[in-house]
Symmetry: C5
Subunit: 256 residues, 5 copies
Amino acid sequence: MDPTTIAGVIFGFLLIGWAILSGGSWKIFIDYPAMAITIGGMLCATMIHFSLPQFVGIFSVIKKTIVTKIPSQSELIQLMVNYAAINKRDGALALEQEIPKANDAFLGRALQMLVDGQNGDSIRDIMSMEIQYLQDRHSTGKKILEFMGSAAPAFGMIGTLIGLVQMLRNMTSPESIGAGMAVALITTFYGAMSANLIFIPLAGKLGLYSKAEVTAKEMIVEGICAVSEGESPTIVREKMQVFVSQSRRKEVKANV
Amino acid sequence: MDPTTIAGVIFGFLLIGWAILSGGSWKIFIDYPAMAITIGGMLCATMIHFSLPQFVGIFSVIKKTIVTKIPSQSELIQLMVNYAAINKRDGALALEQEIPKANDAFLGRALQMLVDGQNGDSIRDIMSMEIQYLQDRHSTGKKILEFMGSAAPAFGMIGTLIGLVQMLRNMTSPESIGAGMAVALITTFYGAMSANLIFIPLAGKLGLYSKAEVTAKEMIVEGICAVSEGESPTIVREKMQVFVSQSRRKEVKANV
Amino acid sequence: MDPTTIAGVIFGFLLIGWAILSGGSWKIFIDYPAMAITIGGMLCATMIHFSLPQFVGIFSVIKKTIVTKIPSQSELIQLMVNYAAINKRDGALALEQEIPKANDAFLGRALQMLVDGQNGDSIRDIMSMEIQYLQDRHSTGKKILEFMGSAAPAFGMIGTLIGLVQMLRNMTSPESIGAGMAVALITTFYGAMSANLIFIPLAGKLGLYSKAEVTAKEMIVEGICAVSEGESPTIVREKMQVFVSQSRRKEVKANV
Amino acid sequence: MDPTTIAGVIFGFLLIGWAILSGGSWKIFIDYPAMAITIGGMLCATMIHFSLPQFVGIFSVIKKTIVTKIPSQSELIQLMVNYAAINKRDGALALEQEIPKANDAFLGRALQMLVDGQNGDSIRDIMSMEIQYLQDRHSTGKKILEFMGSAAPAFGMIGTLIGLVQMLRNMTSPESIGAGMAVALITTFYGAMSANLIFIPLAGKLGLYSKAEVTAKEMIVEGICAVSEGESPTIVREKMQVFVSQSRRKEVKANV
Amino acid sequence: MDPTTIAGVIFGFLLIGWAILSGGSWKIFIDYPAMAITIGGMLCATMIHFSLPQFVGIFSVIKKTIVTKIPSQSELIQLMVNYAAINKRDGALALEQEIPKANDAFLGRALQMLVDGQNGDSIRDIMSMEIQYLQDRHSTGKKILEFMGSAAPAFGMIGTLIGLVQMLRNMTSPESIGAGMAVALITTFYGAMSANLIFIPLAGKLGLYSKAEVTAKEMIVEGICAVSEGESPTIVREKMQVFVSQSRRKEVKANV
């Protein structure tokens, strides 16, 4: 779990709260109808754009940006090296007892195929299709957050237009202009803040997680294929190290 | 039929209606000339951009985003497994009686080619070209909606410019500024609302439907080809399951 | 000739004219210096961007969006089927008398190569290069119109900036602000209107025409190649039908 | 040399000058600090973005958009036909005397390789890499101009923000607002004008020149390779004519 | 080290400082809460978007745009020519003493593989993957700077919205409008300036450095592979010269 997502959101709201309080009362920035039109309008547009399961899954997508656990690369390498050693010593069948220990359905399935005696190419083919699916699902989540990040300012502007038209129509005294304009601008403020502090950066984070998770899955595929070809633990470790960036290779070696 | 399209549009308009009513009369937001220039201008630009059949087809495109029925993946798999069983038991000719039962011209045509004894590769070639056409048609529909989503705010702005110039020219008293400005802004409001609540999300929904429909067609091609190669029902089911995302595979298996 | 281009432009201007007249006199919207700076500035930028022959060819590009005649797909298929019949009955040389009847230089050239006894592959190679050229020319025309569609609003804004600076500098009485501002906004109005009602939709239409014309040329190449390989009229018709969308295939068959 | 670049710039400035003069004095549009901040800020950002040699080369890039001479296609074809005739009559070595006459280092190098007896494939390989370099250099020049076209309006806006803050802070009488605002807007005017009348169209022109120059180089490679394979002058001319657009082929033939 | 990065930043700030001072006091442009909300908000969004190690690495990324040293192409060629001479004279093993002299881990690793007797293809495979990693790391750095360049103006606008709402709400006298507006605009000014003078150009510079560094690494791979195939120094020099642009080839030859 990467603490930056939550820390960034909290610090961002504290910062804006402080900026508001240092300039006056926070009460003028709380406007429930403005929230309803900005957030509600954005949710309606998102509902039209996406299907029901995708719309319902927004919260799990947002949760994913906070709690995703990317497996450590050095642990993955160590795991594969162990598998290679077991395979060399006792044969592929001895790996069957490792399947229940795998804390990842993807790794479990790859191991099962290895134990079943499938060759490297067919393991790679099938697992690559699974990785493809993973990327598709992640990219849908990213698209939802990006759409919310573009719809929120749009509905903020729509709310401001509604407020401006009402203010301008019912304008009785020049003094009332200021207050009416302030209320109208609140929706633009909500739209800009939710997009720039929440939806757009969360979409970016999801993209990073997706890349890291896909790399981990690719490491598993590469490792299992090497084991299935009967490579020695040393070769398996060497083959998997190309996934690790040079600056972190020493650290990985120290652990291995 | 996915209820989110209609629900989102209805909720969106209710929300904006509530926001308007909570701030005053709704009458100032109904302005027929403003509607004419925003929607009419957008339709004229769309007419120039697209051909007559495409322009006339806008309504069927919009209808498509509401009533499209994506075939269930598990039903498709079950169907192909049945075909494989019939093919194994009674030969390809026995599948002829299944053609009239196919509720999809695409499936019917693929079955016909199977019965006619064409081999897998030529079925795949011809049906892939059909899928290509489907994608082209869908992408034209999406482009029309996206163009409308960008033209509506543009004509909203043109309407506002007309209103502003007239107001500024005929400005006699400062009091009249407000009312004139309010009228001028209505077109911008119409443009932003129709684009963000209707055209842009509908274009996105059409894209999703297109992807789902293409996947269903690809499943049919994959299944029919497997049947034409004389695969057993078990193999056909396994081959088609790669199209199903992992989280829904159990559900599919349960149904199959 | 597709009537939508002209109809859209006429309806669009009628609509904007009606909107202007319903709000006051049309005279305040006619400002020759404003036209000069918006349209003239856009033409200067276009002249810098493109070469002299391209710049001079703008009018023929615009004309093309109005009068382009896309050959009917069913006529093309019928033509190729006839050629196949002649070829089968009297040999390729008998097609020589068809060359002068071809109302299209591209078709004429392809027929000539067929009569000269060139084989299918070399016909395809050379005619594909011609199609490539056609696409290049079309794409240049589209780029010119798109550039004009982005330059017109930019020079509209430049004109408004000039007007604003002059008005603000020479501001003597608050009453004069309105009139000065109205004049300044006229250039923005011209820029937005010409871009959104003319240049941007025309660029889109040119793209559609280009695609349709390229498809027609590809049908010719496919048909001539099938004839050159001595295919029977039935096979030629079947081969060409893959270019026709499913919904229109019956209509084509009826004609054929 | 294409006169459109210079003509467009001159006409554009004359037009804007006329628009300014028709509305009052030109003096209010000359503001040296505003020029310094718009042009200077843009140059500083360009300096940070690009390397020193690239930054210093801006003027040669701009000069290139004015004085580039694209070799005529018919002259190139004639040249290659002559080479083919010499090669046929006297052998490749006789082409050595043509090398000093080549007014283009690229053509000279290709001829040298031909005289040295290298075969067509290796000439094509090496000369293609040279073409690749040419495209890279051109694309850097285009990127610099495009960056300047986006940085100029940005620094125009920064200058306007500085002017607005100063005016609003020191606002003593409502009368002074107009003059202060006018001065503040001048930087936006400079930014919009330099970007839309100079940098953006020049970047486009550079792209066109790059394409034309690359086509000329590809014609040379194609021609020299055909000569190196001992093709007759007639075949060389036919092979090179595919580069010429159909409408200009007659003109080329007339010249050849 | 390229001096343009630092020179551009310094000149840019001097220019803006001069523009501010020429118009009045600089004090009104120093507003700590405005800095906090623009820079702080941007940092919070960046923290949410990227992972902790990436966020912490921002300073090293920025440092990289200032102090990166791109190896001279002529030195690289000379080095490879020397290696080729040693290899020809004393065999690959004699190159072992060159490894500690290599001032670049990448070059050292390539040399080690050469000494270990690996063939050209496997050196190329492994070193290409290292180059791939280098590009990935660089592209992440570029993405961070680009995100900061888009987040800074967004938070500048959010700060301005907060200031506007507060000013409009608490508006007591028309005189106070100016000062409140000036304060509100400061955040927009900070956002625009930091993005256009720092983040966007630095992202561009990083892209240029990345390209130059990758080219240098590719030259090393090409050279080492040529040496490993036992090519003579002359051939090695010729093979590497294709990386040098034509205009600088003479200079390189002079040095070599």
